[in-house]
Symmetry: C2
Subunit: 201 residues, 2 copies
């Protein structure tokens, strides 16, 4: 049915369908919306993409994202506590942690998790840079905020061992029942952790 | 929380959030995905947008979309029946109609519906071009496929009167229970139409 559309639009739909969670119907909706909105809207998005491509790069300190090759806003901020480091899997983990407003330290982005199944070993996680950061900045506590998945847990266990040798305090995000979550629909692994880690009131 | 992101990325998120049904969280997800995928993916989407902007324009015959300023694939096709014309509100209505595979004629895209509330009158619907098409191409039947909304119905009523004067057969898409739809959850207007238009078996 898409063959009634002009070829450039068909190509645009294929490219948009590569976005996460976007199927061909949603991609068509986006593409038709952009075309209906007109030339300005198409150019606006194209320009924003080009600017991002040209100017956004990895922060040389935390491997988060920065502008123009310098430090990212967090690493550059004098207001962030420099002696705690939060280790996350990806840049997408930082905004929700920031919005939780409980953490005021710096970050370190792994970009990958250890995964024996996918053949990702410790040498692919630029852990030498993590150790450099811990040593150079006199880090006192590392909070491991990798996901509660098999790979995330394996990574946390490995990093915990590695960092404890450095004499750093290593902590892990608490596991348990999500706030607002019904017990009725909770999976057994989460409930099992919530029972194990139950606390005195 | 987005202020920890580089400015170009913040701008990209704002632009992506203008897509239909895309909030700031989804826009951030799309933007972070594109950045993670790297420079090639950003450029691919940007190039597809630029190509669409340069090469896609309105078909001079049906006001659908065409490439390079010529007729659209449907108007240019010798296999489409030239004596029936399907009037739709927007270009987004054509792909689902095509995929229903019941219609083999041509289209006419209004781009707007009559709307007394929004102040859209007949003069804004390029109806002179619709009448020209009907006369010049010897159209025998016009299928009104505007939506079953107040504005869509008002437009269909107006066009029906206008086109009947031209001696053309004017039809309207059937209203009723959607296929696969439960009666239990159906709104009363649809059910009312389904009863009114019930047919002998």
């Amino acid at each position: 049915m898409a063959d009634i559309l002009p070829k450039p639009l068909q190509r645009l739909i294929l490219v948009l369908a590569k976005l996460p969670g976007v199927g061909s119907r949603t991609a068509m909706r986006y593409a038709l919306h952009l075309v209906r909105e007109g030339s300005d809207r198409l150019e606006e998005l194209s320009a924003a993409l080009d600017e991002t491509r040209r100017e956004v790069s990895l922060c040389p300190s935390c491997f988060g994202m920065s502008e123009g090759g310098g430090l990212c806003p967090i690493c550059a901020s004098p207001e962030r506590r420099g002696e705690t480091l939060c280790v996350v899997e990806g840049i997408g983990d930082m905004p929700p942690i920031e919005s939780a407003a409980q953490y005021a330290g710096r970050y370190f982005v792994l970009h990958k998790l250890l995964s024996p199944l996918k053949g990702v070993g410790p040498q692919e996680l630029h852990l030498d840079r993590l150790l450099d950061t811990v040593r150079d900045h006199g880090i006192a506590e590392v909070v491991l905020a990798t996901p509660l998945t098999t790979d995330g847990e394996a990574t946390a266990t490995y990093l915990s061992r590695l960092l404890t040798q450095e004499g750093v305090r290593v902590t892990r995000l608490a596991a348990g029942v999500p706030v607002g979550g019904a017990i009725e629909y909770l999976d057994r692994l989460t409930l099992s952790r919530a029972f194990q880690d139950r606390k005195e009131l």
